[in-house]
């Protein structure tokens, strides 16, 4: 590796209305280096990358590339400087051929028309160099995600990229494909091309990267060579907690008091590539937390239990009876509810009223001879508006006008009025303010004391510690630890996330 700096982003700041996404972030990448960029969601990784690649323009700060100041105000300018990006959502044209995707915009021309023979030959050469054997005339969408990603990289190489940014390149690859990607990355290194590598998988970072920059809340909280940092240090920097901040846990776990009845049991449930055989059980009236970094497979596991995705293997027991994995509507019949992470996309119907949103799922029950009983409907809605303290001027207000916390309560109310036995909550406090957070957590406790089981996913360890009776730690699609109330502590959880320890002292 070259010791010279290729890229130096100097105190980059960027604000969006209401948010300061980047607060003077520095990033230095050396020539031929694979540089990891780590941070939880909202830490500013993607904003920083977008500033670099010309999608966003920085408010303050300077970018130096090969010791010259550059201005990447459009993606094209960034590309011309030698910075290429491989996005999560592949930025290629699915219905065109592989060779065409590599050369689109820079077609090889002969007498005013495209020279397809030369195009195919050049494409083949580039892919051969990468060690990828594939028919260059085949349609891109007929190929696996891995190959499509390789095409994206081939395109970057063909425009003489000096720096390739890979935004979660492994998130949709299986293990074997990841190996191939790493081989390609090593070849890039050998050609003195630098790589910025974004991933949530710690093992990958420690395997392929040379150095790491850690972001949290829009600031750089750490820079290190990979060989000088441990996984635990990395996780604690990402999560950013000092021991002094740790809140003491109020709840205590009473094994005798806790029901032995399992609502849900999964055995070795599998769905590639995110869930690789997880056993989990949720007891009656228990709040089970799922901890783990983003992309660890938490959400995917919850979706499998709810029937939103079909597993490739494993068993599911509901109330002790073996059940087939079905559609969400079957899970709902069995007494399950699911509040998804992105309530705007999968949860609320923004233009409908609070009343309608709450009663959406129970309308059949309220309907007599095809007509919704308004009296009955309003009675239920009023009950939940009061019980959950939903702040709305009246029940006919459109949900989109409510604050995030109150929207979340509306979704909770929707599931609660169905009298569920199990509620799955994916990041229930994401994007809502502190006060509302507390209320939601209290609600969860309330649910549990009403003997409703809760499966709660959260990236905020504090929150899990506060609300859960038990925490299962998920890492890279596997359950790597399980903690009971007494053991639940920040250190223990972080240790488990970082190292995958099975037991704790």
């Amino acid at each position: 590796m070259d010791e010279r700096i290729l890229l130096h982003m100097k105190s980059i700041s960027k604000s969006f209305p209401g948010v300061k996404a980047l607060k003077g972030v520095d990033l230095e990448v050396k020539k031929g280096e694979v540089h990891a960029l780590m941070g939880e969601n909202g830490a500013g990784k993607s904003t920083l990358i977008k500033v670099l690649t010309g999608v966003h323009i920085e408010d303050e700060g300077e970018i130096y590339f090969e010791d010259k100041q550059i201005f990447t105000n459009t993606t094209l300018q960034a590309q011309k400087c030698g910075i290429s990006t491989i996005y999560q959502e592949l930025d290629l044209i699915p219905e065109l051929s592989i060779c065409e995707n590599i050369f689109l915009g820079r077609e090889i021309m002969k007498k005013g028309i495209i020279d397809w023979k030369a195009t195919q030959k050049r494409a083949k050469e580039i892919l051969d160099d990468m060690g990828i054997d594939v028919e260059v005339t085949s349609i891109l969408s007929s190929q696996s995600t891995a190959i499509q990603q390789m095409v994206s990289i081939a395109r970057a190489i063909s425009i003489n990229a000096r720096l390739v940014v890979m935004d979660e390149p492994t998130s949709s690859l299986d293990d074997k494909e990841v190996r191939v990607l790493f081989e390609v990355i090593k070849k890039l290194k050998a050609q003195n091309i630098s790589v910025i590598f974004i991933s949530h998988r710690l093992d990958e970072i420690f395997e392929i990267c040379d150095a790491i920059t850690i972001l949290k809340d829009g600031e750089r909280v750490g820079y290190s060579l990979i060989k000088d940092i441990t996984k635990l240090e990395l996780v604690s920097k990402m999560i950013g907690k000092d021991a002094s901040q740790i809140i003491s846990r109020k709840k205590s776990y009473n094994k005798d008091k806790m029901s032995n009845e399992n609502i849900i049991v999964t055995k070795n449930i599998v769905r590639d590539p995110k869930v690789k055989g997880i056993d989990i059980e949720v007891k009656k009236g228990e709040v089970l937390g799922l901890a783990g970094l983003l992309g660890s497979g938490r959400t995917e596991l919850a979706r499998l239990i709810f029937g939103a995705d079909l597993p490739q293997g494993g068993e599911l027991y509901i109330n002790g009876k073996k059940e087939k994995f079905n559609l969400p509507k079957d899970a709902i019949k069995k007494g399950m509810g699911f509040c998804p992470e992105d309530r705007k996309i999968e949860g609320i119907i923004p233009n409908m009223s609070v009343k309608e949103n709450i009663t959406l799922a129970i309308l059949p029950r309220l309907t007599k001879m095809g007509i919704v009983s308004r009296k009955e409907q309003e009675k239920i809605v009023n009950k939940f508006i009061q019980a959950l303290k939903i702040k709305t001027p009246h029940m006919n207000q459109a949900v989109k006008n409510l604050s995030g916390g109150n929207q979340q309560k509306v979704i909770l109310a929707r599931w609660m009025c169905m009298n569920p036995e199990l509620l799955i909550l994916d990041e229930p406090t994401r994007g809502i303010d502190v006060g509302a957070k507390k209320e939601i957590l209290d609600l969860i406790e309330q649910l549990a004391s009403d003997n409703i089981s809760v499966l709660m996913i959260s990236s905020e360890i504090e929150e899990l510690m506060h609300a859960c009776d038990r925490i299962a730690v998920i890492r890279d699609g596997k359950k790597v630890g399980e903690l009971y109330a007494e053991e639940i502590g920040e250190e223990a959880i972080m240790n488990s996330i970082a190292e995958g320890h099975q037991s704790f002292a």
């Binding site: 065109l96 689109l104 028309i113 054997d133 085949s138």
Partner: protein, 326 residues
């Protein structure tokens, strides 16, 4: 590490499913053609073929433009109105010579197309609404400019009339021009940078922008092309009828869309081909021809048949998974 394993190659064996999907228009055409040949004596005659080709050629020009527009993921509802204005203008200026009566209407068509392009790219109005608005407005212009009356072509301008009615080597001139236009469109779509960029923009507009393609310029050019081709269709129609009519081309936008979709172009853009549009246009011509020969059937049955074929094509596409993925 065996990298070869990763490259999942498609089996090269002949794929009937794919053939039916890709060549649906051709297959439908052959079936209708054979049916007509056996059913109607007068069908399989040189004279009838000439007539059908001449009849469909005007729709053909419009459909070529429409195919370009649909390929970029747009739609152009204003083609019929543009055709009417162009025909009226052509009839008015035909005494200045045939070149003038072609060029001026085409320029007008280009201007209308550019207006569509500006509405879609600069003002970011969805194509359906933008071109619905210009469709209404341009049709209004056609009626106001003519006082709702047909404009007769100067009978002295024989060469203008020949454009729509004449023959070269015994083949109707409009048919020759249509076939030439299809060949040029096929070449553009396969061999030129512009053609490939059209597919790229329709396939993934954001990605095209990221790749540095001039997306807005490509869209403008495509709408201008659609305007120009519609106008040219209007010129030919006026020449054939010997008059420019403000009502001409009413509803043609939908027929052109039908021909394009029957030809296998996906309405969401990015996938399609001009040989398909060629057969799509011929199928529509064939259906009209067959109903003319049948004589005793209510003509509106042909709309029902066209609708059924259109549905058949779309269902076939979705069954093979292309539409649902987009």
């Amino acid at each position: 590490m065996n990298i070869v394993e990763l490259a999942v190659r498609k089996v090269k064996a002949f794929d009937f499913k794919k053939f039916f999907k890709d060549e649906g228009a051709l297959i439908t055409f052959i079936i209708l053609f054979l049916f007509a040949t056996f059913k109607y004596e007068q069908f399989f005659t040189v004279l009838n073929f000439k007539n059908v080709l001449r009849q469909v050629s005007m729709l053909g020009f419009v459909a070529i433009g429409m195919t370009f527009v649909i390929l970029i993921g747009g739609i152009d509802l204003s083609v019929g109105s543009t055709l009417a204005v162009a025909g009226v203008v052509a009839a008015k200026v035909c005494s200045y010579g045939v070149a003038v009566s072609i060029i001026i209407p085409i320029l007008i068509g280009i201007v209308f197309g550019l207006i569509n392009g500006i509405l879609v790219t600069k003002l970011k109005i969805v194509p359906f609404i933008a071109t619905l608005a210009t469709m209404l407005a341009i049709r209004g212009i056609a009626y106001i400019a003519t006082g709702e009356l047909s404009v007769g072509a100067n009978s002295a301008s024989e060469s203008f009339i020949q454009l729509g009615r004449g023959f070269v080597f015994g083949i109707p001139i409009p048919a020759i021009l249509f076939i030439l236009a299809i060949i040029v469109a096929i070449l553009i779509s396969k061999k030129t940078r512009f053609g490939r960029h059209v597919y790229a923009v329709g396939g993934n507009e954001d990605a095209s922008r990221m790749m540095g393609l001039k997306v807005d310029a490509i869209k403008m050019a495509v709408y201008a092309l659609s305007g120009a081709l519609s106008a040219f269709a209007g010129v030919i129609l006026a020449s054939r009828l010997g008059a420019g009519q403000p009502v001409a081309g009413d509803g043609w936008e939908l027929t052109a869309i039908a021909a394009t979709v029957i030809g296998g172009t996906l309405i969401v853009g990015g996938v399609g081909k001009f040989s398909g549009t060629f057969f799509g246009v011929l199928i529509i011509g064939l259906i009209q021809n067959m109903f003319n020969m049948q004589g005793n059937l209510n003509v509106w049955w042909q709309n029902i048949l066209m609708g059924a074929i259109l549905l058949g094509v779309v269902v076939a596409q979705s069954q093979t998974g292309k539409v649902s993925k987009a």
